[in-house]
């Protein structure tokens, strides 16, 4: 939807990369809920503009809720003045919405005008509210007047019987004391109350707002506004430069985006600066000259200087803060204790807490409560800090600092772009490991020599078909957390995204015994990786494994062209996996398609199946002989695809045993057995699921003896695997699934093997 701007600063078509989040707001506004919607924004991540865009969108969409936007700005005056400003904005926006006249939102009008412009149906309500406002202003103290004003939307909603949706921008409150009167009043009014509302804050500020409101409530959703990604950020910059008529090209835009970390605020500041200086962004030199100018005296400079001024208003304290921050950059861990900071800063009590809290909330430093660590990930902040330290603390001449910063930023530019390109070209091990999710894949995907021997020079489609038919299977773990090693390395750092530690469980079984760590690394080699390079990497990963302190570790190396025969031996000796880039990409494709397979889902009742004509579902209660009902059903289904009488009996008995197992072994809360029968071209797949607890010895049961050698119980799984061609015992979050497959043309002698377990 395109429309004019009301509160937003940029047009809707230039507001890129937040479409999904805006849709979330629209959906929220159309629901009848009393839960809050929180907008958790990265610093300079465009949280305020997002809320303004959301307001404009809601205004023109005419949902049944009347939107109202208010931002607690930095220069706001006394609490009473803030209250009055809030009250006026609210009434103006309310009347503007009701009259469908956006100009009323921003035009300067008196409260009397607002009353005169009210629709007749609202007139009494608005009039009464205005009277109360004047009365409160004259008689109440500042705190209760503020509370009255902040409660105005709720009061008018009750009188006029309309739903009002406040969109409250608290980002500028991030520097306030947590227990300041304004923060507490705003938090109580909009974070802690029962009515619906959207509250935006910095992502490290939101917990403090909740705390200030003493809020124990359900949040409907939280929208996370991170920095724009490598696709959206250049699009935004392109839109900005076109609007401002600045010449630019894709390569330079990419550099600017990398340098500014995809921050919408910084990108807009940079574009504005280019416009003012009339500088085309068509060379690295121009870009970096402009960048350094911005750092030394432009919007970026003002942003960080204001922030530091807010954190440390005293000039001497600010200088000390600069020194501590800069010097912690050069220490190995960038960390120091809170005690050290306090001693060095020479600031005590609540003032010290406020300073550290503001540094933390704005992500200039990370405070754990015990230690404080400089956040060195933000390039602009680091460059600003370095330049300011040199001038303000080290006393370096400004011209020299400017020269050094220009030279350094220019030297950094190609490296930065190389990192971006390598990141873009990386396999994405983090994502790949996260997709494992206990899926089964052909083992040759992790064995380069075997794969190359079978599939070298073969078309991808044919390779997929061969992998489908491969009998040797690897069951992947469920990786619950994949961590980029570069982010946690204390020594021997690796390149971003090239080495990942995946923490997880085998078989989705959340026990100590099943815990496993996969350490995967993408290595560089133009040819098949040599034994020497492979050994070197294995040793490196083994060092990381020792740091991970897991009793079960699997190493996996990915080399673009695979591994030489000797390298494969190295991997084999270490029980490590080795794949080529092609194998890893095939793996990714197969994992993706696996996820969309209907039977891979654990859910019944429409969640997992494709609902096609060849699939049946039924639910039976656990109880006496209900398994016979299931057996009759499967008999009818098996007949339809021409199974012989003997096979039908085998399927029936297997199903009966599965039902008995479900009944006997699960402490099922709903006492139900969920069954799915899926007919495929050459087989019938029967899935039996139940909720509840699975005993640890379930998989190993093989008949309990009564002391004279005659087994008495626990034959269920043994029987099932003898009767069916394939049996998989699958643990799911809240229970179990048994998947049994019978082929139409099975060999006749049922395979005897262990029951497979997966999740």
């Amino acid at each position: 939807m395109t429309h004019e701007r009301i509160l937003s600063h940029i047009s809707r078509d230039q507001f890129v990369g937040r479409e999904a989040e805006l849709r979330q707001v629209i959906n929220y506004a159309t629901q009848t809920t009393e839960q809050k919607l929180l907008v958790s924004a990265a610093p300079n991540g465009g949280g305020s503009e997002f809320l303004r865009q959301a307001y404009d969108e809601l205004f023109f969409r005419r949902t049944h809720a009347v939107p109202f936007h208010f931002s607690f700005g930095k220069n706001r005056g006394t609490p009473a003045e803030v209250g009055a400003s809030f009250f006026r904005s609210f009434l103006q926006q309310y009347v503007a919405y009701r009259r469908v006249d956006p100009s009323l939102c921003t035009n300067p009008v008196s409260l009397r005008d607002v009353l005169d412009l009210s629709l007749s149906t609202d007139y009494d309500g608005v009039s009464a509210l205005l009277e109360s406002f004047e009365h409160e202003r004259a008689s109440a103290d500042a705190a209760s007047f503020l509370r009255f004003c902040l409660g105005a939307p709720q009061k008018l909603a009750a009188v006029c019987k309309r739903r009002i949706l406040p969109l409250i921008d608290c980002l500028a409150l991030a520097g306030e004391q947590k227990d300041s009167q304004l923060t507490a009043s705003v938090a109580t009014a909009f974070v802690g109350r029962g009515e619906a509302g959207i509250v935006a804050g910095l992502r490290r500020q939101i917990p403090g707002l909740k705390h200030a409101a003493d809020a124990d409530f359900d949040v409907a959703e939280t929208i996370h506004l991170d920095y724009l990604n490598d696709d959206d950020a250049p699009t935004l910059l392109n839109a900005l430069t076109r609007r401002l008529q600045i010449e630019t090209d894709a390569e330079r835009r990419d550099l600017v985006v990398q340098q500014l970390g995809g921050s919408p605020f910084l990108l807009a500041a940079f574009a504005q600066s280019a416009r003012q200086k009339g500088l085309p962004l068509t060379s690295y030199v121009n870009c970096q000259l402009l960048y350094v100018d911005e750092l030394m005296g432009g919007r970026m400079y003002r942003h960080f200087s204001n922030l530091l001024g807010q954190i440390a208003p005293q000039a001497q304290t600010r200088r000390t803060l600069l020194r501590i921050l800069y010097e912690s950059r050069s220490t190995e861990t960038r960390k120091a204790s809170v005690w050290t900071w306090k001693k060095r800063l020479g600031v005590e009590g609540t003032e010290f807490e406020r300073m550290i809290d503001t540094l933390h909330v704005h992500e200039l430093a990370n405070s754990s409560g015990v230690t404080i660590e400089l956040n060195n990930e933000a390039v602009v902040w680091m460059d600003y800090l370095t330049a300011q330290y040199r001038m303000e603390v080290a006393g370096e001449a400004r011209a020299l600092t400017v020269a050094n910063t220009r030279v350094n930023s220019l030297k950094r530019a190609p490296k930065m772009m190389t990192r971006k390109y390598r990141r873009a070209a990386a396999l994405g091990l983090n994502d790949l490991l996260s997709r494992f999710n206990c899926q089964e894949v052909a083992a040759s995907l992790f064995d380069y020599q075997k794969f190359a021997a079978a599939h070298s020079g073969v078309e991808t489609e044919a390779v997929h078909a061969a992998l489908d038919a491969e009998a040797d299977i690897v069951r992947l773990p469920q990786v619950v957390s994949a961590v980029d090693y570069s982010a946690v390395a204390t020594s021997d750092p690796t390149e971003e995204g090239r080495c990942v530690i995946g923490y997880g469980f085998e078989g989705g079984d959340y026990t100590d015994e099943s815990e496993i760590v996969w350490i995967a690394a993408e290595i560089d080699s133009k040819l098949e990786a040599s034994a020497e390079l492979t050994s070197e990497w294995c040793e490196r990963l083994e060092r990381i494994a020792r740091e991970a302190k897991s009793h079960q570790v699997k190493l996996w190396l990915v080399s673009p062209e695979g591994f030489s025969r000797e390298a494969a031996e190295v991997l084999k000796k270490r029980n490590a996996y080795g794949s080529s880039r092609r194998q890893a990409e095939l793996l990714r494709a197969r994992l993706t398609s696996e996820l969309s397979k209907p039977d891979s889902s654990s859910s019944f009742g429409g969640g997992g199946g494709d609902g096609g004509a060849d699939e049946y579902e039924m639910v039976i209660p656990m109880g006496t002989d209900t398994e016979l009902i299931a057996a009759h059903t499967v008999e009818q289904i098996a007949r339809r695809i021409n199974f012989g009488p003997e096979a039908i009996n085998q399927i029936k008995l297997a199903l009966v045993e599965a039902c008995i197992n479900a009944t006997e072994h699960s402490l099922s809360p709903d006492r139900k057995i969920y069954q799915r029968f899926r007919i495929e071209s050459d087989k019938l797949v029967v899935t039996v699921a139940s909720r509840g607890v699975v005993p640890a010895n379930m998989l190993t049961q093989n008949g309990e003896t009564n002391g004279n050698g005659k087994s008495r119980r626990g034959w269920g799984l043994k029987l099932i695997r003898s009767l069916m061609d394939e049996v998989e015992f699958v643990r799911v979050d809240d229970g179990t699934q048994l998947r049994m497959t019978k082929y139409l043309h099975s060999s006749g002698s049922p395979p005897v093997g262990s029951v497979q377990q997966k999740s």
Binding site: Q650, E657, I660, K710, S711, W715
Partner: protein, 127 residues
């Protein structure tokens, strides 16, 4: 199949031998009925028991476990036990779960009765 309708099991005696008829679905309930009837017949002095599976279509693992209990009971009284009229599917199941090591299968009831009939020894006495 009706495993729940009847509350007792069909049985008859031929001389010293009790013939017990298993129902169409042998599960916990119907298995226990057979077990109870078997104990009753043994207490009445029968020296042999034939369990006839002519109507039995399906035997589940709990049913099998109860049959193992029946085998134990019969062994303790030194009586004989024969299973007759077992369909091929059920026979495979008994084989798989080791029942056939402890009990003889007869094609039908007549063969079962022949198997339990006391054989004369060299002196012409029945043993």
């Amino acid at each position: 199949m009706d495993a729940t309708g009847a509350t007792s099991v069909e049985a008859r005696c031929v001389g010293d031998t009790a013939i017990i008829y298993a129902s169409d679905y042998l599960n916990k309930l119907t298995g226990e009925r057979i077990e109870r009837e078997c104990k009753r017949q043994l207490e009445a002095g029968r020296h042999a028991v034939v369990i006839n599976f002519r109507d039995t279509e399906l035997v589940n693992s709990i049913g099998v476990s109860i049959l193992i209990g029946v085998i134990d009971v019969v062994e303790q009284t030194r009586a004989r036990l024969i299973f007759s009229d077992v369909n091929s599917q059920t026979a495979s199941l008994f084989e798989l779960l080791g029942l056939t090591k402890h009990v003889q299968l007869a094609k039908d009831e007549s063969e079962a009765l022949l198997l339990v009939e006391p054989k004369p020894n060299a002196a012409g006495h029945h043993v």
